[in-house]
Amino acid sequence: MADEDVTVLIATDADIVVARGEGRALAGRLGFSRTDATLIATAISEIGRNILVHAGAGEVRVGRAGDDHRVAIVVVARDEGPGIHDVKRALEEGYATGGGLGLGLPGSRRLMDEFDIETKLGHGTTVTMSKWRERDRHAVVRDAPDRDG
């Protein structure tokens, strides 16, 4: 990640809209398709809302990764909330907390290519997710054969 990264502080639901707007804008600049840009924006929206609902505040940073031939967008969503007690369950379908459908994490993971959670009870949670451009996906899969397709 570099200085072209954009960080949006999340404290109200209006901030979620800003964060996903930045995500969509960067996706456009990097040459992602319109559909992919919407997937990315939706994932950001979901994760941003998670921050609000569970931690009250946090930040979402979007940036690029890869090189000239393989471009990815990377989203890092960080909060200093209570942390996730059972990550495995939280990533399963239908896990519900906070009185909602609770689909935030597994759903976002389905929209992106890579998805990582770091969490510590009482300290906070960092979700890192990235998506490769469609045209680069072949090269990425070929060079890392043990990756899920």
Partner: protein, 308 residues
């Protein structure tokens, strides 16, 4: 980023096996070997080009082109032997591949010429050292692994480049292919022919959904009669396409599902439950007509039923 990405990006892509030079290689021996090959470049190159012609390789190229390109290959080959590094060689092989692929040069020709060069040089070293079997052995010990590594590098570079060209061509074909046909105003037919992979499936979905919007379609018939086989990923794409169509207010009918594909899908556990499927296109069109005339909010609709 996770570890996989860092490895993939920092490592040598296409690197195969150990470095060119095993530690025991005699540096002086290698230098002498390289000097010999350079000194005798004219006759060795000529011998090589003769072998290439005999084997009827590179016929699409004129003799001037062959001479010029083979000189460069020879020099890069010997440089690679000397430095132990395949970087420059790989870069050269890629640019060479870029030039000759479009001329119609095939993989077996590229491998062929590199192996012929290996043989010509090996034979020359053999003849040069034949009076001293022990020295010959050491020379060949130095030469053989390096030469094989070079052959692999050039071959892999060529194949990589070829694959890249093919992918670009496929992308172009996808762009041009499969028009979404409009039939009678509110009915669309999407005939899919040939190989269906993930990327193409995504593209077709985008095309279809745009067409639904542009034509205000109420029913779409997706015909896969022309598709030989699909895997679970693509099947799921189809299911998602049908669901996305529904979100846009259009009903979708899948036709042309061969019993083979149907069985595959059942075996793979793909849930086609909510999708309307009809054996052939004609039947599908008839079903579509029925749907066109009759789209109402169904009784027992979840919205009307008691909410859980």
């Amino acid at each position: 980023m996770n570890d996989h990405e860092e490895d993939a990006m920092s490592g040598e892509d296409g690197s195969v096996g150990p470095a060119l030079h095993a530690p025991e290689i005699d540096a002086a021996l290698l230098a002498e070997l390289v000097a010999y090959l350079r000194e005798h470049r004219p006759e060795l190159r000529e011998a090589w080009v003769e072998r290439i012609t005999e084997a009827q390789l590179l016929r699409v190229m004129s003799s001037e082109e062959v001479f010029s390109e083979m000189t460069a290959v020879y020099d890069n080959y010997v440089d690679a032997l000397e430095t132990g590094s395949v970087e420059t060689l790989r870069a050269y092989a890629r640019s060479l591949s870029e030039r000759i692929i479009h001329r119609g040069v095939e993989t077996h020709e590229v491998l062929g010429i590199v192996l012929l060069l290996r043989d010509v040089l090996a034979r020359a070293l053999f003849i040069h050292h034949q009076g001293d079997p022990e020295l010959l052995n050491r020379v060949l010990d130095a030469y053989e692994p390096a030469a094989n590594r070079i052959a692999v590098t050039v071959g892999v570079s060529f194949v990589d480049e070829r694959e890249r060209v093919i992918r670009d061509q496929q992308a172009a074909i996808r762009e041009l292919s499969t028009p979404v046909l409009q039939v009678r105003g509110r009915l669309l037919i999407l005939p899919i022919i040939g190989v269906l992979d993930s990327q193409r499936a995504r593209q077709l979905t985008e095309q279809l959904l745009s067409a639904i919007q542009a034509n205000r379609a109420k029913v779409v018939v997706i015909d896969i009669t022309g598709v030989a086989s699909i895997d679970v990923t693509v099947a799921n794409h189809l299911v998602q396409t049908v669901e996305a169509s529904r979100l846009m207010g259009a009903s979708a009918i899948l036709t042309g599902l061969s019993s083979g594909i149907a069985q595959t899908l059942v075996d793979l556990g793909v849930d086609l439950g909510s999708m309307r499927t009809v054996g052939d296109l004609q039947g599908g069109l008839e079903e579509a007509e029925r749907l066109l005339g009759y789209r109402v909010i169904q009784e027992g609709d979840p919205v009307l039923a008691p909410q859980t």
